[in-house]
């Protein structure tokens, strides 16, 4: 406690102008920046996977399962971020037992549960069931039992049943696309509906969140596909990668347009909050907004990917550009979340001043913990790729599709 007060007394000296006395400490910190980032990755990866399934974009097939498993790995970690940030984590169940209808945050419990159980898990199950049954027959020891449990007792592999797998999986994917939109869109709405905060309160907020989520999800799948292929010493399917990059480019253009529109609108209308927000953007958010989010995270990938639409260099160069672009986009979208969440709390609601935000290295909301939360999904993904390897799938030539 003493250390906490010590930190706050130091913050008092960092206050510019006037803030309401209760505003000295930021309420939502790094963990809350990470949560929309991670659900965004999930929603984006899922939508990329759905493109293959629903819109029959066959060229993306190599990345389909990878995208699904990536979405699952990140989704499992997402809740933990939120729960660990609560003042009373053990009361978190209240969101499920007494959700308040008027609150966007209350949606979290059910949408999350719906998306996890009905959409993601079921889709993966329908897609993998045939292989799980066959693997359960071929494996030995603990792995055999894991597969047996995963079959849920449905071991029928007749052509008619397999056709049902496909049909039901297709239906789930169709339901999944709007579900993915809601899973991430509601987070944007949580911010966009706060009339007290002019940096957050905009109609475009859910839409911007969604499009930047799609961008980050596609970039993540692109990166993971390249990384996994490299680790497994497999040849990359350039057609698939080129197509993903194309989608990334188009959605990035849309995302850039929307975010640009939001800012242009704000600058043009220049209503009451404009002066303080202008100071915010040119001062405390200068590096994270202009340099990290806009220049590195959006403009450079836009230009490089855009150039590739007109002129196609050799494969090695393209791979490098894709790798660089996907990493830059992931970097940029993280800072987009940072600028929204942290930026919105740096200025006082009195419009007369600023407080400051210092990241701790250790502690439950510290930098080390946050890095851990980001790394854990990759371990989960590694486990899932071991359990349900997309490349070892039993030959499906004999099954009716």
């Amino acid at each position: 406690m003493e250390q906490h007060y010590q930190h706050l007394y130091e913050m008092l000296t960092q206050v510019h102008g006037y803030i309401y006395p209760n505003e000295i400490d930021l309420q939502w910190s790094l963990l809350i920046v990470l949560y929309p980032y991670i659900t965004g990755l999930v929603a984006g990866a899922f939508i990329l996977a759905s493109l293959e399934r629903v819109f029959n974009v066959k060229v993306l097939k190599p990345t389909y399962h990878l995208a699904l498993l990536t979405a699952l790995s990140f989704l499992l970690v997402a809740t933990l971020l939120l729960v660990s940030h609560l003042g009373h984590p053990f009361r978190a169940y209240e969101i499920m037992t007494t959700p308040h209808g008027g609150s966007a945050m209350a949606i979290f419990g059910f949408v999350y549960l719906w998306y996890l159980m009905v959409v993601l898990l079921l889709e993966i199950w329908f897609d993998y069931r045939r292989d799980i049954v066959l693997w359960s027959r071929q494996s030995k020891g603990l792995k055999k039992w894991i597969y047996k449990i995963l079959t849920l007792g449905v071991t029928d592999l007749s052509p008619k049943t397999l056709k049902w797998d496909d049909k039901l999986g297709y239906i789930i994917t169709i339901i999944g696309i709007p579900s993915a939109f809601i899973l991430h869109g509601y987070v944007g709405f949580i911010f966009g509906s706060v009339k007290a905060n002019p940096w957050w309160s905009t109609v475009l907020m859910p839409v911007i969140f969604l499009f930047s989520a799609m961008v980050s999800g596609i970039a993540l799948v692109m990166f993971i596909y390249m990384a996994v292929s490299y680790l497994r010493k497999q040849k990359i399917n350039m057609l698939a990668l080129d197509t993903i990059a194309q989608y990334l480019f188009y959605i990035l253009v849309l995302d850039f347009t929307l975010e640009g529109l939001d800012q242009i609108h704000r600058i043009y209308e220049a209503e009451e909050s404009f002066e303080i927000l202008s100071l915010l953007v040119h001062g405390k958010l200068f590096i994270t907004l202009f340099i990290f989010q806009m220049f590195l995270g959006t403009l450079i990938p836009l230009i490089s990917l855009g150039t590739l639409q007109l002129y196609k260099p050799k494969e090695k160069t393209r791979r490098f550009i894709y790798l660089a672009s996907s990493l830059l986009v992931l970097f940029g979208v993280f800072f987009m979340r940072w600028n929204v969440v942290i930026g919105g709390q740096l200025f006082s609601k009195s419009f007369h001043g600023f407080t400051d935000y210092k990241i701790f290295l250790v502690g439950s909301e510290g930098l080390l913990m946050s890095i851990l939360w980001i790394i854990i999904p990759f371990f989960i993904l590694a486990f899932l790729l071991w359990l349900l390897p997309p490349w070892k799938r039993i030959d499906q030539k004999n099954s009716v599709v």
């Binding site: 169940y93 209240e94 499920m96 037992t97 007494t98 308040h100 209808g101 008027g102 159980m117 079921l122 329908f126 069931r129 849920l152 007792g153 449905v154 029928d156 008619k160 049943t161 049902w164 797998d165 039901l168």
Partner: protein
């Protein structure tokens, strides 16, 4: 019906039933009676400990001070404005003594010169006026214009 649904539908039905059962036990009493909140909380919020007694309470014993106060310019003040919370002292005068502020800075809270105060209250420059003494050495705090000598 395909075997997948024959397994999945009962499975989900079980989950939902378990959830509803858990919910029955987890939702606290009185929740939802008057709105989306635990209605018993209203009564709980009424049951907090009081610390201020109110002016009439002080006058019950200290009627002399109350009379002094009423005769001069501080008549409008509550005793606890300067003396702080007094309910503990009221309940048990022997055990708990109320705060008696004696320093210049205390009077300065209202009376130090500040242009924002305009003509609303009598103000003095505390860095200039009688800096060696406490205010109460000359001014009876209950009858400030009765200057002691």
């Amino acid at each position: 019906m395909p075997p997948q649904l024959k397994t999945l539908i009962p499975l989900f039905a079980v989950f939902i039933t378990l959830f509803l059962v858990a919910r029955y036990f987890l939702v606290p009493d009185s929740f939802g009676e008057q709105g989306h909140y635990r209605f018993n909380s209203v009564a709980e919020n009424k049951e907090r400990v009081l610390n201020y007694a109110g002016k009439e309470a002080c006058a019950e014993c200290h009627d002399d001070k109350a009379e002094e106060l009423g005769s001069d310019v501080h008549a409008n003040l509550s005793c606890e404005t300067c003396h702080g919370p007094g309910l503990a002292h009221y309940d048990n005068p022997e055990a708990s003594n109320i705060n008696i502020p004696r320093e210049r800075t205390h009077c300065g809270l209202c009376h130090s010169f500040n242009s924002t105060r305009k003509e609303l209250i009598a103000q003095i420059d505390l860095t200039d006026h009688n800096v060696e003494n406490k205010c109460i050495e000359c001014h009876n705090p209950h009858m400030p214009w009765e200057i002691k000598e």
